[in-house]
């Protein structure tokens, strides 16, 4: 009888402790707390891959696959994005017809600023990505905008990322309810299943990084945008963040949104924010 009571008391206290542990989480889920989200997001990957150095997550699949990493290190001596990088450098310094340059559109002349993008524009009330800012710069100077997915846009962002290599991602969420909303929308987009395959971004890049999907090794979501733009051997060319989102969508058999749609801008904002503190490694090379 006595043993039974103590058992009962024991389980009651265990339940109370469990409740006490669980309840702050429930509260946290109901209000938007980007700081806590980023911490939880990073911890998830740090615990899943305890041997991977934190700053190494920005190297995608190479961070979690030793064999691929060896091959990639050799490739990095002569990276396939080199031509795009040179082209980007030349384009960046070539003036527009009106004599102005890209440098006039960006803080610090556009050098070493990749880590600050995307940012929340409090005047527009929306997220502004680097690709968007580049095309707005072109249009403001009377030039036709570039395609968001590859070629010139990828070359330009490759050069801008290269000048920012090693700088920690530094995304800010200003004190504006719309910025919090953009972050929350991006988070929801990231975790929502879509397409006939019923996959969310997280199905692959949170639940299965390091695992194979057909012949590819999936990259961890943490720091995945720090390496953008990328040269993908599969594409035999460069691709931007927009291209990555669009192709991920169509692979799940969802009709992709238009590049730089609000949803894509928000998910880029979310993914970049949770990678705050991790270094820029772009332009990257992926199989």
């Amino acid at each position: 009888m006595k043993a039974r009571i103590s058992l009962l008391l024991g389980s009651l206290s265990a339940a109370l402790i469990a409740f006490a542990l669980a309840s702050p989480r429930v509260v946290a889920a109901d209000k938007v707390d980007p700081v806590a989200d980023a911490k939880a997001f990073q911890n998830f990957f740090f615990q899943k891959f305890p041997t991977v150095k934190h700053e190494d997550f920005v190297n995608g699949p190479y961070s979690v696959n030793e064999d691929m990493k060896r091959q990639w290190k050799e490739k990095e001596e002569f990276p396939p994005y080199e031509f795009a990088l040179d082209a980007g450098k030349e384009m960046f310094s070539t003036p527009f017809k009106n004599g102005k340059t890209y440098a006039d559109c960006f803080p610090n002349g556009g050098i070493g600023i990749r880590q600050d993008y995307p940012y929340f524009d409090t005047r527009e009330g929306k997220v502004v990505t680097l690709e968007l800012a580049l095309n707005r710069c072109r249009e403001a100077n009377g030039e036709a905008p570039y395609s968001y997915v590859k070629d010139e846009m990828a070359s330009l962002t490759a050069y801008m990322a290269f000048t920012s290599r090693g700088k920690p991602m530094n995304i800010k969420i200003p004190d504006d309810p719309r910025a919090l909303e953009a972050f929350e929308n991006g988070k929801r987009y990231f975790y929502s299943r879509r397409g006939q395959m019923n996959f969310s971004c997280a199905s692959c890049h949170v639940q299965s990084p390091g695992e194979r999907i057909r012949a590819e090794t999936l990259a961890p979501a943490l720091g995945i945008l720090n390496a953008m733009p990328i040269y993908r051997s599969e594409w035999a060319g460069m691709g931007t963040t927009s291209r990555r989102f669009v192709t991920c969508n169509s692979q799940t058999r969802a009709v992709p949104l238009e590049p730089q749609a609000d949803e894509y801008r928000d998910v880029e904002y979310f993914l970049s924010y949770v990678a705050n503190g991790l270094p820029i490694s772009g332009p990257g090379a992926r199989p």
Binding site: E77, F78, P80, E82, F83, E90, A236
Partner: protein
């Protein structure tokens, strides 16, 4: 216009290791453009590396080589400071040449 060839050659006393990256579409002639028409074959036929007047690496290529090909090989008999000359010609008569010093 920058050269279509990037070279890096290093000598460790005995062996010279050469790496090169060449920008070329390497079209096979079997792929269709978005408008449905075949993209005509356009590929490097001969790639040559010369050092001190001697051929050290000659390749007869076809359409099975990838776009923007990368080549790596090593050879003996060269010294630091020697010049290495790289040239390619393609099936449309295009060509390019560049030189690099062995480091």
């Amino acid at each position: 216009m920058a050269s279509s060839i990037r070279v890096r050659a290093t000598n460790n006393g005995d062996v010279t290791e050469v790496q090169a990256l060449i920008q070329h579409p390497m079209d096979t002639g079997l792929v269709k453009a978005p408008n449905g028409e075949l993209i005509p074959a356009h590929f490097i036929q001969e790639l040559k590396f010369e050092c001190n007047g001697k051929d050290v690496f000659v390749a007869n290529w076809g359409t099975a080589i990838s776009k923007d090909p990368y080549v790596k090989f090593s050879f003996k008999g060269a010294r630091k400071g020697d010049e290495i000359k790289i040239s390619w010609t393609d099936n449309k008569g295009g060509s390019d040449t560049t030189t690099a010093k062995i480091a």
